[in-house]
Amino acid sequence: VSFREKMAWVSLTLLLLIYGYYAWTLYGMAQAGRTATLDYVWLLALLALLVLLLIVLQVVFSVVIAVVTAMFMPADLKAREDEREKLMALKATRYGYVVLVSGALAICLWIIYGGQEFYTANSLFLVVVLSEMTRSAVQIVYFRKGA
């Protein structure tokens, strides 16, 4: 498993955990019927905190993986991104883009037909996260498959 594949796994796992927690929190609010009286400042603060946590954890994991790779597979760490990895990243970005555009258009229609702001705003955010998760997942598939 190459250094960049490990990083793709880390990215996908962290996205799942961090935004999974955010989605779970929102689900709890919706169940409690607090969507109409929600304090958006509090919600944005929670989101900002989670994004910060995501960045910190990504840095921590990349340092740990880099140290372990340097100890056991130093050549893997030194290897620059090559043509196959660039191609995989491009293909993965294309899939992520399809998710992003499709989701954004669907939410536009939802807004036009009277979607509530709590659901539409968070769904738009979910689409951004899903597109990023798709990118990481497709990259991992290509790493496993070949190209």
Binding site: E83, R84, K145
Partner: protein, 71 residues
């Protein structure tokens, strides 16, 4: 054009060059070991530039490394 149409002799050439490892070949042509593995297994067709670099490492013409079979 699918990858199945192109075969290669990299495994044999590595063997004939003192059991050169995939990592050694990768370092010589500036790609990752995983990319050499994918090329050897026919899962990835390299760029023309990388293909020429592989042939140059073994000191043979390109057609001795890669073979194109018309379907």
């Amino acid at each position: 054009m699918s990858g199945e149409e192109i075969s290669n002799a990299i495994r044999r050439l590595r063997f004939e060059h003192g059991e050169m490892t995939q990592a050694d070949l990768a370092a010589k042509i500036g790609v990752t070991r995983q990319t050499i593995n994918a090329i050897e297994q026919g899962k990835y067709s390299p760029s023309l530039e990388a293909a020429f670099r592989i042939a140059a490492v073994f000191g043979v013409p390109l057609e001795q490394v890669f073979q194109y079979k018309k379907k």
